[in-house]
Symmetry: C2
Subunit: 345 residues, 2 copies
DNA sequence: CCGAGTATTGCAAGCGCTTCCGAAACTCCT
DNA sequence: AGGAGTTTCGGAAGCGCTTGCAATACTCGG
């Protein structure tokens, strides 16, 4: 295969009979070029299949028109979904998206210590990363625009999910159905593997809020925070089943945990929602498949907003924070507890 | 926040008391620099926090040290997993990862028509994309190295899953268990939405192979190819249940389809594997959760190989093709058909 | 028809790095 | 000790684009 050298401004200029500066201006829509020459230049460019060298214009302008998206773990549905949504608006706006996965603590620290993004992008969208104030300042001093998903910090645009309200809503739903012993299956950051990035701790607080409001005693034995994986959820559920007074329902801080819990329940011969109720969190792609009641928090919207915010920031807009109210999606994994239904007949 | 201009070669050169060319060579490990000066330069660079401007070196060398990864749909587990694996090796090798999602036919054609990648990357990994010979040639003429996942084409490195063998293995497993009426739930490309990229048609052929080998009649009513989504899988399963002689087992061409089918079975009150057996394809992250027997084809390995292949290609290696043999992962969704087990007792 | 004012366009200087080529400084060997 | 042969380094010319500034062409009122 013969590799053809791409056409440069030079050849377009010659072909259109103008100078290179005119070509540059004409093609980028800079005012001050007559309609006639602009047309001529565009045609010439079209004919030779000209496309400006990104490296060259980046060097000349100092802007890369690239946004870095950094996530803890790409293969988790939540992150992929956020990236996909963000990527769509970014490429729609003419930005390239640079993907960065910080799957290990080593990578993470190396990332923030070194100037890995220096000159590579104009901004960064950090998803579910615990970015310290210093790290954020370091990025800003490099001139990076910043948007945070799943974390708020003054000065940076961010999308904040009202997790406390979400946790409360999920728990209330169960309490309203008549459940008295409701467990909480939460997410805890595990040192070695930052599987889920920053854990949404507020969901637990919301759970406690709801318990208190419903006049239900909170039992430490019914609160378990584990790594955010299906397996850990399954194991935690098993633990709940060994309690002296087992719960009749559980609110899980993620759908993945809920999936695991569902598996344990199934294997234990307990039927959902007849014997046990469960509500998840995320409205995962497959939540509907397993008929899981869950809290939706517009995952794709989060990515979309972050992308728009960063584009706006690069256009000089002030930082903004978007608040997302989780909504309960009722499916088939929640119902009144057995004793109520039995007596209700 | 004050934005500090990054240090340039200039300042490092002055600080180390050498010329810029020496700095450039010293920092990149180019031979011909004495150990002493190299050290001095490295120290100076370290002190001022120097990091070479990517734009500048890209312009000067013509190489971007960036690989584009293009997928049909990012939010599908399969693609995210491939990208994650590829990304890890690429960034390990010092390459940036440029993400491109071609979620609509419009984007797709625009992508190949225009020179969207021109000067942006040194190579592209195309995942599950039906890349025509001309499109591939166009990319090559731009000087792009190419690696294909889920497609083979001479001249480009590619990873090829032995889908025919995989489909046959899945089907044989069911036949060996004694199933006589085995349905096939396949993937069909749906014009408007390239959800799954290029459909793995060979899985169907393998299914037919196995049927023939087992002496089972192939019934057109038991072959259904639909869009690769959970919902479509659910709907297709429902169709099977309306057959005059319903199947007792089904091999699905993807786990997502299988998930949908499982849902339909559950809602229909049929128990898996007691009343119905099903084997999926992909070994999806959540296949274990729903106890789905499936065909594993090393999804992460595919990404890893593609990345390595492209790095090798850029180092001058000839193109290679990696063949992956799917393996059956036995879980709890397959068992001998009811009549056999009943009489077996 | 002329000059002030405005609309267009060209020149040339970078942007920050790489690399060819020649100069300078050292090796050794006879 | 005197070159030939090596190393090690600096000078300078780009890479392809953008942009400040100057120059030219064109507008129109008087």
């Amino acid at each position: 295969m013969t590799v053809s050298t791409p056409a440069s401004v030079q050849v377009v200029a010659e072909r259109a009979g103008v100078s290179v500066s005119t070509v540059s201006r004409a093609l980028r829509g800079v005012p001050g070029i007559s309609a006639a020459t602009r047309k001529r230049v565009q045609d010439a460019a079209e004919e030779v299949g000209y496309v400006a060298s990104p490296s060259a214009s980046r060097l000349a302008t100092g802007r890369t028109r690239t946004i870095a998206v950094v996530v803890p773990l790409l293969s988790k549905w939540f992150f992929a979904e956020v990236i996909a949504a963000a990527g769509r608006v970014l490429s729609g706006e003419g930005y390239d998206v640079l993907l960065t996965e910080l799957s290990t603590p080593a990578l993470r620290s190396e990332f923030f210590a070194g100037r890995r993004l220096q000159g590579r992008c104009d901004g960064v969208i950090a998803v579910a990363l615990q970015v310290s104030a210093e790290e954020l300042a370091a990025l800003e001093s490099q001139g990076q625009a910043i948007a945070l998903v799943g974390a708020v910090r003054s000065g940076a645009s961010s999308v904040r999910v009202e997790d406390r309200a979400g946790g409360r809503a999920a728990t209330r739903h169960l309490a309203n159905l008549g459940h008295q012993r409701i467990a909480f299956l939460g997410i805890q950051e595990v040192p070695g593997s930052p599987l889920g990035g920053v854990p949404p701790a507020e969901r637990l607080l919301g759970y406690r809020d709801a318990l208190a409001e419903a006049g239900l005693a909170s039992d430490p034995a019914l609160e378990l925070c584990v790594e955010n994986t299906v397996d850990a959820g399954a194991a935690a559920m098993a633990t709940f089943l060994t309690a002296a007074q087992p719960p009749t329902a559980v609110v899980a801080a993620s759908d993945e945990l809920a999936f695991g819990a569902l598996g344990t329940l199934r294997r234990a011969g307990l039927r959902v929602p007849d014997d046990f109720s469960i509500v998840g969190y995320d409205n995962h792609e497959l939540a509907g498949t397993v008929d899981l009641t869950t809290m939706d928090h517009g995952v794709a919207d989060q990515g979309k907003f972050a992308a728009k915010a960063i584009v706006a920031a690069l256009a000089g807009a002030p930082s903004a924070v978007e608040r997302i109210e989780p909504r309960l999606i009722v499916r088939g994994s929640t119902a009144p507890p057995r004793h109520l239904r039995a007596s209700g007949h």
